[in-house]
Amino acid sequence: MSLSIDDVKKVARLARLAVSEQEAQAAHAQLTSIFDLIAEMQAVDTAGIEPMSHAQDVIQRLREDKVTEHNQRELFQSIAPQVEAGLYLVPQVIE
């Protein structure tokens, strides 16, 4: 399969990364060589093989449904780019 410049721009948009035309060109060349490397996988017969998502077969632990965290809003918001009255500020989304 071959990756087009439009694919690169679409992926950048999905990943929320602004790219200039020049950056898209450079990324295209490098991603193409990386996907050539990845393409080696396609020749492997994996029929009947169970996908392995994790190194250990462990069961997700459950905990009691009780409050374990206390409110640290001021501490956490002290390192935020922009806050006001306990709220994180972002550009207006709803008119």
């Binding site: 990845i38 996988m41 994996t46 998502s53 989304v93």
Partner: protein, 483 residues
Amino acid sequence: MHNSSLQQLSAALRSKKISSVELTQLYLDRIAALNPQLNAYITLNPETSLAQAREADARIATGNAEALTGIPIAQKDIFCAQGWRTTCGSKMLHNFVSPYDAHVISQFNNAGAINLGKTNMDEFAMGSSNETSHYGAVKNPWDTARVPGGSSGGTAAAVAARLCAAATGTDTGGSIRQPAALCGISGLKPTYGVCSRYGMIAFASSLDQAGPMGRCAEDLALLLNTMAGFDERDSTSLQRDKEDYARDLAKPLNGLRIGLPKEFFAEGLSSDVAQAVEAAIAEYKKLGATVVDISLPNTRLSIPVYYVLAPAEASSNLSRFDGVRYGYRAPDYGDLADMYEQTRAQGFGEEVKRRIMIGTYVLSHGYYDAYYLQAQKIRRLIAQDFTEAFKQCDVIMGPTSPSTAFKLGEKGDDPVQMYLSDIYTIAVNLAGLPGMSIPCGFGDNNMPVGLQIIGNYFDEARMLNAAHQYQLATDWHSRAPQA
């Protein structure tokens, strides 16, 4: 004093030959003198370190000292430490002062160790040369024209140049073992789940594992005793009984079966590395070990599999960096989407953006089965190779890296060449097995060579035993670069 082992330092502290404040100051002075050339540290807080040292001295005076009380330890800048700037090597976190401690950091704090500073690393641990750091490349202390390896390159350089007593690293595809090899130190990646990932900035969560880096195997055992342990805040932390990783250090190696995978000694391995590794195997035979030829047939596939799975997980993990709650925000933007796009385009470096794009692509509609699912299936084949191999041997040995440290800039423009240098380490992460690297000689240009030791699940004590016995018989681990 700066060449002493952790046990020697611990004994010197308890017998009041030196105070923790004096020892911490000694390392801070060495850092002030040598770090400008090496760039091994990103952040230092001498006042904070010395305040911890005063507390440690008080604790030692009361007789409540533990093995690491008063010992200055450098922390890879991937571990959140309360009150410390924690950058993960990225502009994205250039102003992030962590409001909390990673589990690994609190384990060291509880043990009374000193946080000496935060070490340089490839941005978000993505790299094998430490050249992707926003804070500049780290230089190899054996030859400052060469890379220290990565991503824990700052840690490896700091240990090798004796700018700390020991340090921490993390390993997603070889990031502890490869820099340990290239800088001539010892490093251990434990079995996946042994050390908590809580507060360790995530790259690829199914592969990331913290581990110790130090001068010798005995030091690693002491460090791992502190770092390991169950933590309910990491959903993949393993609930196991506490173990003493130093318990088998003194055991003789008679009857140890060493598996040598033929794929690790094939084309692509530099002859100087091959020579040093073969000499190390000969030394093991003298120590009573036997050698078995084995095969890990899917080794070559570990690279494509890794470069699908790790970027896929990274693209998800790094979506949290959006310029809203912490870290960098672009100065100029229009609407919300533009703020995200500008912030991420400016805050992330080239390699990180590349991997986010690979990950986004392989997870996108229409490609998931061909890439992500296929990679997960081959991951199982790779893990099964090891299961088969460990039926015939107790540990697997081979080179850590196909060559010694390469020159700065040599592989910078070609990501694929850089990726191929992780050929011997990646499969271990995919399987979730423990792996370590210890120095075993020098190759061309007098650069260090690392011997990799891979163990079965939870076999860290046996690997440390094998490494320690070798280090009793050889002195490669005690060689240090000229300062």
